[in-house]
């Protein structure tokens, strides 16, 4: 895997990393819980068919400035500014987990910002009768098995590389989890349900068949609230972070079905 091109854009005066690789029609990707510590097999697979642009949200690996985002509006404006600065305007957009909550919100609020939408294990709504697992109340070491069907996939994706300072790697991982919590605490509901009816875009909803975080019915809940044409795809042998568990299948699904 060749490394992607790296550049930096500013959001609220803070630096956010943007990765780019591949040719063809551009497609943006917003990472899930934990963010992208490195170029992953999913991003590589997708870049075989599309020009993949990966901007880092504030607080996630590669992105700074989550500490000035206090409200949902702050996060939403930061997402808008990040996508715009990364030249992702009017392009297809993939969001995973927490990234999907913001991708959906951006499409709802600025319809012209997004072309087609792929929501992979999207967060942002909460049903008291079928609660989401509390990803922020986990015993030490429990996260990999919660987020991935094969825990090793999460460990490999988030392990600091050999060149990194191990303390810094630990801090980056904790900060990513904090950034997600800052947006989603306490029940992972961003009131997205109120805005999903504004999404007229073609929307692909992808669910991991072994997702330990989201109840299976949540895909239907999203589809029911989005008036645009939706399609739900279930990926076998995949947990919440489908991109880490089934990189090739997810990339192919997006390229073929979106």
């Amino acid at each position: 895997m060749n490394a992607p091109a790296v550049r930096s854009v500013e959001v609220n005066g803070f630096a956010c990393r943007v990765w780019e690789k591949g040719d063809g029609e551009p497609i943006g990707v917003l990472a899930g819980i934990g963010g992208f510590q490195r170029w992953t097999p999913f991003l590589e697979a997708l870049s075989q068919s599309r020009r993949v642009v990966v901007p880092s949200l504030p607080g996630f690996p590669g992105g700074e400035g989550h500490e000035v985002l206090d409200t949902q509006l702050d996060w939403l404006l930061a997402t808008h500014d990040l996508l715009t600065a990364a030249d992702l305007t009017g392009t297809d957009l993939v969001g995973v987990s927490v990234g999907a909550a913001l991708a959906a919100d951006a499409a709802a609020c600025w319809p012209a910002l997004v072309n087609r939408l792929a929501l992979v294990s999207p967060l942002g709504i909460f049903d008291e009768d079928e609660p989401i697992t509390d990803v922020f109340a986990q015993r030490p070491g429990a996260l990999p098995a919660l987020l991935c069907h094969d825990p090793a996939n999460f460990e490999v994706a988030t392990a600091p590389s050999k060149d990194d300072d191990p303390t810094e790697g630990q801090i980056i991982a904790v900060r990513a989890h904090e950034a997600a919590a800052r947006l989603l605490w306490p029940v992972l509901d961003t009131r997205l349900a109120r805005r999903l009816p504004r999404i007229g875009h073609r929307t692909l909803i992808v669910a991991g068949a072994n997702d330990q975080v989201l109840p299976a019915s949540y895909s239907d809940k999203f589809a029911a609230l989005i008036p645009g044409p939706t399609e739900i795809v279930h990926v076998t042998d995949a947990g919440h972070l489908v991109d880490l568990d089934a990189p090739e299948v997810l990339a192919a699904t997006i390229v073929e079905r979106l």
Partner: protein
């Protein structure tokens, strides 16, 4: 030195197999284990014990705030403190304290503390904790990433509410109030002394030093585990050019006194094992909400032994629940009055602690034992400690009540009322 009697108000009837059958004493503790009729007696016993401590001559009595917690039955310590204000005379009332970010708006704390100061005639010590992860983030749903900024803003608002003579508008990051105008206002001028209960965060030490607040290290793990942290605090005070006035600091210690060492071991084994075995049985999934610990503290924990020693989740992970180990590690000090006095004197000098907070009721200890422990301590240990530091240092952080003769005397109810 000052000796304060601290009550956690633990539920005293958690079942013997609590540890085996329940994941946590805190946050998601089984509500079916709570019997309100039994709690009626517990609360009244606990308030008797606090009042008794006041009668016995302790300098202060302390209450604190916990939520969804089987070892802390005071979601509102202010309610307890208000009854103590009426039923005690000269003792300082140490509310340790109100977790500022949980009060909406935070001026509620300024109001209630001012009420307590008025009712008690100026005997309040105002504790401002950030609050534990379990209380604030899980039981009360506060965002861990926003908790500290909210806490700091709440602090600034409360202090301004107490000191600003005119009504003012507050346009904060988290709180907006067009008219802030505290009514009632505290008796103590400009405000009650502020004590900050804390862990081992260097940020907190610096913050206390800047504002001249008392830093109180409240750990359940005793003087041996607390040593590195408290020494770290004093080193930081040296670095910041602050004097080593022992009254800048508070420290919590469990103590059991008896006529003989053997008797002490027999009497305090069960309540100690109840406390460490059942009351501290906290599910580790509630220990580290993301963002609760600052990045500066995380870095310090990797790099510094002091910060590592103060990491409470690490302390909890290595928790001892057998009495022999509890004693060996110094979680609890037990012995004859002379033995306890000698040990506490040594601890107070070594840690340079002017405000010693004592847990003389702990775990499932009943009222009779709690009172005899309190009495023995007051009569035979206290006289061996009170002179410490007094010749050299002044306590600038102690309440300044109205003169006794100017204070109201609470009315009494006739015997007939109770018939």
């Amino acid at each position: 030195m000052k000796l304060l009697w601290f009550h956690l108000m633990p539920y005293t009837e958690l079942p013997d197999d609590f540890r085996e059958q329940n994941p946590s004493v805190w946050v998601d503790i089984d509500s079916k284990l709570f019997d309100p009729a039994r709690a009626h007696h517990m609360y009244n016993d606990f308030m008797d014990e606090l009042e008794y401590a006041s009668q016995c001559g302790f300098d202060g009595i302390c209450v604190n705030e916990h939520h969804s917690n089987g070892y802390g039955l005071m979601p509102s310590p202010n309610l307890i403190a208000s009854t103590l204000a009426r039923r005690t005379a000269d003792t300082a009332l140490c509310v340790m304290g109100n977790s500022l970010a949980l009060y909406n708006p935070p001026t509620r704390v300024a109001e209630e503390f001012a009420m307590l100061d008025c009712i008690s005639g100026g005997r309040l010590i105002a504790g401002f904790p950030v609050g534990s992860p379990m209380d604030t983030c899980y039981a009360f749903g506060q965002n861990p990433s926003l908790l500290r900024p909210r806490y700091h803003e709440a602090h600034d608002l409360i202090m301004k509410a107490w000191t600003e003579p005119e009504p003012f508008a507050f346009n904060g990051r988290f709180n907006q109030q067009r008219y802030v105008n505290i009514w009632p206002r505290p008796i103590q001028d400009p405000h009650p002394p502020i004590w900050i209960p804390g862990g081992g965060s260097v940020d907190t030490w610096q913050w206390c030093a800047e504002r001249d607040y008392v830093y109180s290290y409240l750990s359940y793990f005793g003087y041996k585990m607390g040593r590195a942290t408290v020494h770290g605090f004093w080193n930081e005070m040296d670095r910041l050019g602050k004097d080593r006035n022992p009254y800048r600091a508070g420290f919590l210690q469990f103590v059991g006194v008896a006529e003989t060492q053997q008797q002490a071991i027999e009497l305090y084994k069960e309540p100690a094992e109840y406390f460490y075995g059942r009351c501290l049985h906290v599910d580790p999934r509630f220990a580290n909400p993301p963002g609760y610990t600052t990045e500066a503290t995380l870095r310090a924990r990797v790099e510094s032994q002091v910060a590592k020693a103060a990491d409470r989740s690490a302390e909890r992970a290595n928790l001892s629940i057998q009495f022999e180990e509890i004693l060996e590690k110094g979680y609890v000090i037990v012995g004859t009055p002379d033995e306890v006095a000698a040990r506490l004197r040594e601890v107070a000098v070594d840690l340079n602690i002017g405000h010693l907070m004592l847990l003389l009721q702990f775990g499932n200890m009943g009222k009779e034992l709690a009172m005899s422990n309190t009495k023995l301590f007051a009569e035979e240990v206290m006289p061996q400690l009170t002179d410490l530091f007094d010749d050299d240092w002044e306590d600038h952080w102690w309440p300044s009540p109205m003169p006794r003769q100017q204070r109201a005397v609470p009315g009494t109810l006739t015997e007939a009322f109770w018939q």
